[in-house]
């Protein structure tokens, strides 16, 4: 299958993929973008969260063929000109990163939450991030990071 799609603003082409490969597999193994993670590949953990035409999805539950002609943004696309996105900075500063395997998915999910709801309450944060599993942090520092981002939004 020949596949054309836009990833992080750049047109990309893939040859030799077959339709049953997931978008996650294509990103990781064919486009050299392993930032989206593969903790379950069954839509249960959120580690593969990406934007697909602006909608937050599990890239493991999207077929490569479905992504043809569409616009994908991954965690690798959030930093601009080598500068961390403010949410990425918040995760670093809050100590929200331990093993880090959940981190890319959580950062994309947080990015989406704050785009829709710039100043979420704690229950809103928890509800929005409930599909993203973390095994290291107990979530406290992740909440701190998202709260910090929300505070920044309320100042802006």
């Amino acid at each position: 299958m020949h596949l054309q799609l836009t990833v992080n603003g750049n047109p990309r082409e893939v040859d030799g993929a077959w339709e049953g490969e997931s978008l996650l597999y294509v990103l990781r193994e064919r486009l050299g973008l392993p930032g989206s993670k593969n903790a379950c590949e069954q839509g249960e953990c959120g580690s593969c969260s990406v934007y697909l035409d602006g909608v937050l999805v599990c890239s493991c539950l999207v077929l490569a063929a479905q992504a043809a002609g569409r616009d994908v943004v991954t965690v690798e696309g959030l930093a601009e000109n080598g500068e961390l996105h403010p949410i990425q900075k918040d995760f670093v500063e809050a100590g929200a990163v331990q093993c880090g395997f959940c981190t890319p998915g959580l950062i994309v999910a947080t990015h989406e939450l704050l785009a829709r709801n710039p100043r979420p309450t704690d229950p809103e944060i928890r509800e929005a991030l409930a599909g993203n599993l973390c095994r290291c942090t107990g979530y406290e520092k992740i909440l701190d990071a998202v709260r910090a981002a929300a505070v920044r939004n309320s100042r802006a």
Binding site: G20, R28, E29, G32, L33, P34, G35, S36, K37, N38, A39, C40, E41, Q42, E44, C45, S47, T74, V75, E76, A79, L84, Q88, K89, F91, V92, E93, G95, V97, Q98, C99, G100, F101, C102, T103, P104, I107, P123, I125, R126, E127, L129, A130, G131, N132, L133, C134, R135, C136, T137, G138, Y139, E140, K141, I142, L143
Partner: protein
Amino acid sequence: MTPTKERTIAPPVRGGVGTSARRQDSVPKVKGEFAYSSDLWAEGMLWGATVRSPHPRAAIRSLDITDALTVSGVHAVLTHEDVPGRKLFGMEIVDQPVLAWDEIRYEGEPVALVAADHPENARRAADRLRVDYEELPPLVDPERAVEPDAPQLHASGNLIRHARIRCGDPAVTADVVIEGTYETAMQDQAFLGPESGLAVPAEDGGIDLYVATQWLHVDLEQLAASLGLPQDKVRITLAGVGGAFGAREDLSMQIHCCMLALYTGRPVKMMYSREESFFGHVHRHPARMHYEHGATREGELVYVKARIVLDGGAYASSSTAVCANATAFACGPYEVPNVQVDALAVYTNNPPCGAMRGFGAVQACFAYESQMDKLADALGMDPVELRMKNAMSTGSAMPTGQIVEGPAPVAELLRRVKEMSLPPAGHDAPLDLRSLPGGVSNTTHGEGIRRGVGYAIGFKNIAFSEGSDDFATARVRLFAAGGEPQVEVHSAAAEVGQGVGVVQIQVARTELGVERVTLLPADTTVGSAGSSSASRQTWMTGGAVKSACEAVRARLLERAAGELGGSPSDFSMEGGKIVSQTNGIEVSIADLLGRDSIEETREYRHRKTYPMDPETGQGDAHVAFAFAAHRAIVDVDTELGLVRVVELATAQDVGKAINPLSVEGQIEGGSAQGLGLALMEEIQVSNGRIRNPSFTDYLIPTVLDMPPMKIDVLELGDPEAPYGVKGVGEAPTISSTPAVIAALRDATGRALERAPVRPEDVVGLTEREVR
């Protein structure tokens, strides 16, 4: 070199010991650029796959790889006949086949390997491997396994270890006696980064392996033996590790991946799926524990008798050490004059069990803390008061006879969690359903809700015990670049997420007064650091880096003395400069070094430990102990059995917080895993088969399940340890489980003798027979 005489007060180096210095790996991790073991890629790489037994116990009559080899894209199909060296592996007891040949002992046991050009082709070939199994009835009851007429699963018999404590008078009686039988389920470490790695065949006939593991050198020894290679032909580099929690102590795909790479002459990547991961690593031992406590009417413990049976599953893994821990910590952090403990670890045809955070102490703590609550109830005493009354302290004797030498603030930790402010009793109007049991699922608007409060305290050893030669190695190099001093730290300590990387950097900054410290990738070109286990790395590798820095500093001061005159003791290091204490002359490190560098390697050892006596359990088996206490507050929907943990509060002595932010992260994460075991985490095994090998059915806490935490960190300083540190990672996992379940009992009045507590248990509708 231009010595100057201007004295300035040097500011302390930034990012040293005691600061929440930024982790060296956090920026690549938030950018998605950090290379985990599953992210690796090499030109011409093949994909490996494992063929596993669908049966928990079977005899292999025949194995036919012919069909599998015909699948397009397949480059190799290997069986036990292709194992070049030792056909068994194991960390403590070498009892596990690299690939099974005659007998299958657990569901999912590896039987064959495939390498192909695409993971899907590898899987197809795996599907076409023909194995003729003769199914045998699995032995799944650990109590049955030790009966004399049980089928013997290993030539050595079914008993892996029977550890005992015989302390005091076995016939002593007490005013008040309570008994209980407790169970903990099989818990999974459920790290997120699947087992994976990349093996690259080398021109010298050796192999380079990039893998996520907890201990590079113990992997190296086992790999070399099974690959039939000298150890210098096997080189292992730590790839990014997506969590470990004990599950990466044993080998998973390491030997397999190297076998395929050596056979095909191509790089081979292996990566387990989540389902395969549940079969690909060991789990926390399920335990059945019968306890009897005797006490005076005033609440002084007179005796404890315990029988603990740990299901080791098919292979030994670290069962002997887990068993020793369950034994040594069977009575909790209390002074008990008379103790009889029997702990058994046995082979069955259940999934193999081994290391998981808390390592034997978790199971025992659930039982002894449940007993303490029961005893308090029988005595009409406050449960915290009962604990404080019997609390061990520095100088107390363990039931093993070992005197507790470091800080042992048991009563203090209990007092602190007890005195922390309580969250508001009710719920604000309008009700936010997300704060009630059932949460977003709209199950209650307050109907049937009752609140409960529970306390628990636990403890555990730090570092390896029972006489093991436990050491860590670090190499430190000081050099100058661009006129600035820089330090390079190299160790094989596995950064598994806990933060040992930044700890090493912080230690080097503090010891050498140099801010620019680089951590080299962990690999086997430097000596062993020991395992990222047993809460030991900050102490051990931190200690090794400190020693190596001290040696570097000594040489630097010698050099200064040589250059500037005087003796090394006349000089000190301050803010990147060497300063003479006698005449105030100072010189920058960069100038002093020029193009030279100073490099030192040191091994750090903690003091010697001794085995527990096999008959009496007596012996100084441990180096030091970590203590933590928890208070849990829960709301329970008593009609549905749903639970909302409202708050977890904890107090823990960490000795010294090298990185306070990381310490909190460890405490929060450890507490979450304990909460998981209390309420939801269980590998459901039925007749030897795992019924829930997925994140759909194996439940780990989500952000909705974890409550806010209150944390009180004590830094009492262990005189034995560098900077006084104690390990942090495991203690919070131990006491959070019993605290949550105690709170559930408080809310419901039910006995709740099994962890995890399921909703049906809370409402008394448990059906034992379906489990």
